[in-house]
C-alpha cells in the first residue's frame, strides 16, 4: 500500500488529512514537526510527503532542503495556507505546491499526479 507522510502542526488538520487520504486508499502516517518527520523518513521512508511550511522549530522549506540533500528521490508536496511561498524558489525543489484548503480535491489529484510521474502509484 502506498504510504504517505503528512506533516502539519495542527492536530485537526492532521486528523482531517489522515481520514480523507485513508479513504483514498493510502496508508497515512502523520508528524507534527519537521524534526519528527525527518526521523520517521529515516526509520521507514514513505512514498510521498505532504509538508506544511509554517511549522514550530524547523520550517517546511528547511525540512524540504534536508530531504533533497538526503533523499533526492522522495517526492514532496508543499502544502501551506500561504500561496506566497510559491514565489520562493526554494519551494521549486518540491514536486508540487498546493495551497491549503478545506476542499482536498486539488491535493488528492496532485498526490496521484506526483506518484504517477515517479512510478510509485
Amino acid at each position: 500500500m502506498t504510504k504517505l507522510l503528512v506533516v502539519d502542526d495542527e492536530k485537526n488538520i492532521r486528523k482531517l488529512y489522515e481520514s480523507e487520504l485513508k479513504r483514498e486508499g493510502y496508508d497515512v502516517e502523520t508528524a507534527e514537526s519537521a524534526e519528527d518527520a525527518l526521523e520517521l523518513i529515516e526509520k521507514s521512508p514513505p512514498d510521498l510527503v505532504v509538508l506544511d511550511i509554517r511549522l514550530e522549530g524547523m520550517d517546511g522549506i528547511d525540512c524540504l532542503r534536508t530531504i533533497m540533500e538526503t533523499r533526492r528521490d522522495l517526492p514532496v508536496i508543499l502544502n501551506s495556507a500561504y500561496s506566497t511561498y510559491k514565489q520562493d524558489f526554494a519551494s521549486w525543489m518540491a514536486d508540487a505546491y498546493v495551497v491549503k484548503s478545506a476542499d482536498l480535491t486539488e491535493l488528492k489529484s496532485k498526490i496521484r499526479e506526483v506518484l504517477g510521474k515517479r512510478g510509485r502509484a
Binding site: K15, E20, S101
Partner: protein
C-alpha cells in the same frame, strides 16, 4: 545802525560790514552742511526702509505688525496674498476682523501675552481660513517697544505648517493601517487552520449523507460559506506579508548572486541559459534584503515561466548616478500591448495557475524602497524589467525618501513607467 554809523568812522563801518559778511558766509556754510547731512540721513533712512520692506515682503511666511488695538500697521506680501488683498488695503483694519470676522481680538491670539508681558509668545497648530483658503499655522509674536520700554506693537510671524500637519496625518494613518494590517493578518492566520478542519469534516459529512437527505442543504451551506471565508483569508494573508520593510545593509550584487543560486534548480530543468554582468563597485544601500530578493525572484520567476521552451535570462546591475539599476530580461514571447497597463494590478494574471500577485507584490516592495520599475517589452523578442533603487545611506534617509520622495531620482514617486511597447 545809522546812529552807530554816525558815531563811528568809515573804517569801523567797513570792518563791521566785513564781519557781517563773513558771519553770513559761515552761517550759510554751516546750514548748507547741515542740510546736506540731513538729506544724506534721509536717504539712508529711506534706503533702510526699502531694505526692511524688501525683507518683510521677501519672507514667504506671513508677517503682520499690529498695534495695541490689534489694528494692522503693516502686513507682508505673502500674508496679504493668502488673504487675497493688497497690503495697503489691510492696513488700519483690526486683524480679528480680517481673520475671524469678529468684533474683538481672538482669544487664542498670542499677541495678548506679548502685550501683557513684553515677551515673545507662541500659539501652535492654529487653523486660519479666508473662506477660500485654509492653512495650519504656528503663530509667534514679538514685541516692538518704545523709548520707555513699553510694548507698543506686536510683530506676528505666521508660519505655515499645513504640509507638516498633512504629512503627520498621513504618517498616523499609515501607522494605523499597518497596525490593522498586522492584526488582520495574524487573525487571518489563526482562523485559517480551524476553518480548513471545519470545512474538511463538513465535506466528509456532506458526502456521507444520501442525495435526498434534507440535511444536505445545511452541509452545502457550510461548505459554500467556508469556501467564501477561505478566499477572503487567502487574499488577506498574501497581501499583508509585504507591508513593512526590515531595514539593513543591502548588497544588490550579492542578492542577485543568491537569486541565481536559488534559480539553478528551475533553470536546469527548463533549459534556460543565464547571462549578465554584475557591475563591480555597486555601493551598499539600505533596505530589506529579503523583500528585495523576493522582488527579483518574482521578476526572474516570471521571466523563466515565460520561456517554457528555453531561452536566455539576463541578470545585470549597473550604477546610474545615485541609482542602482537592475535589469532582468528574458527572450520570451513578450507582453501584448493590452496587458501592459494591468501588469502590476493585483490578481491580474494570464497564467491559469498564477496568483496574479507576483508583480503587484514586486511593485509594492520597490515602492516601499522609493524605487521604480520600468518595463520594456517587444512581442516576439522578449521583455526587460528594469528596477532602479536609490542609493540610501541611512535609516533616516530611507524614511525621509518614503515620506518626501526625491526629486533628483527619476520617477521617484514610485510610479510604474512604461518605457517601451510591443512592436
Amino acid at each position: 545802525m545809522f546812529l552807530l554809523g554816525s558815531a563811528m568812522g568809515p573804517e569801523s563801518v567797513a570792518v563791521l560790514a566785513a564781519v557781517f559778511v563773513v558771519g553770513l558766509a559761515i552761517g550759510w556754510s554751516v546750514c548748507r552742511a547741515g542740510w546736506k547731512r540731513y538729506a544724506r540721513l534721509q536717504g539712508d533712512i529711506q534706503r533702510s526702509k526699502r531694505q526692511l520692506q524688501a525683507i518683510f515682503d521677501g519672507i514667504t511666511d506671513g508677517l503682520i505688525i499690529v498695534d495695541r488695538d490689534f489694528r494692522i500697521v503693516a502686513v507682508n506680501r505673502a500674508e496679504a496674498s493668502f488673504l487675497g488683498r493688497e497690503p495697503q488695503d489691510l492696513v488700519g483694519h483690526p486683524c480679528y476682523e480680517v481673520y475671524c470676522r469678529g468684533e474683538s481680538p481672538c482669544t487664542a491670539c498670542p499677541a495678548h501675552e506679548t502685550f501683557a508681558t513684553g515677551k515673545v509668545a507662541l500659539v501652535s497648530r492654529l487653523e486660519i481660513s479666508t473662506g477660500y483658503h485654509r492653512k495650519g499655522v504656528d503663530v509667534y509674536t514679538f514685541p516692538v517697544v518704545d523709548e520707555q520700554g513699553n510694548t507698543i506693537q506686536a510683530i506676528q510671524y505666521i508660519k505655515d505648517i499645513t504640509e507638516r500637519l498633512k504629512l503627520q496625518k498621513q504618517l498616523r494613518e499609515v501607522e494605523h493601517l499597518t497596525g490593522i494590517g498586522h492584526m488582520a493578518a495574524s487573525v487571518a492566520h489563526e482562523i485559517r487552520n480551524p476553518l480548513i478542519a471545519v470545512g474538511g469534516f463538513a465535506r466528509q459529512l456532506h458526502e456521507q449523507l444520501t442525495e435526498d437527505d434534507p440535511r444536505r442543504e445545511y452541509t452545502q451551506i457550510i461548505l459554500e460559506e467556508v469556501t467564501r471565508l477561505e478566499q477572503i483569508l487567502r487574499e488577506q494573508l498574501t497581501l499583508e506579508r509585504h507591508l513593512v520593510p526590515v531595514l539593513g545593509p543591502l548588497d544588490v550584487n550579492q542578492i542577485l548572486k543568491d537569486v541565481r543560486k536559488l534559480l539553478s534548480h528551475g533553470i536546469l530543468s527548463s533549459h534556460i541559459r543565464v547571462e549578465g554582468e554584475l557591475s563591480e563597485g555597486i555601493p551598499i544601500t539600505m533596505g530589506d534584503a529579503n523583500q528585495i530578493k523576493q522582488a527579483f525572484l518574482n521578476l526572474a520567476s516570471n521571466a523563466i515561466q515565460s520561456m517554457p521552451d528555453g531561452g536566455t535570462l539576463t541578470l545585470s546591475t549597473s550604477q546610474r548616478g545615485e541609482l542602482i539599476v537592475v535589469r532582468i530580461a528574458d527572450t520570451g514571447p513578450g507582453i501584448p500591448k493590452e496587458h501592459m497597463d494591468k501588469l502590476f494590478v493585483p490578481f491580474f494574471t494570464t497564467r491559469k495557475t498564477g496568483s496574479g500577485l507576483g508583480l503587484a507584490v514586486t511593485k509594492r516592495i520597490i515602492d516601499n524602497h522609493s524605487g521604480t520599475i520600468a518595463v520594456n517589452s517587444v512581442v516576439g523578442e522578449g521583455t526587460v524589467f528594469e528596477v532602479a533603487l536609490p542609493i540610501v545611506r541611512s535609516t533616516q534617509e530611507f524614511e525621509h525618501r518614503k515620506l518626501y520622495g526625491d526629486d533628483g531620482a527619476a520617477g521617484a514617486d514610485g510610479s510604474t513607467e512604461r518605457t517601451g511597447g510591443p512592436a
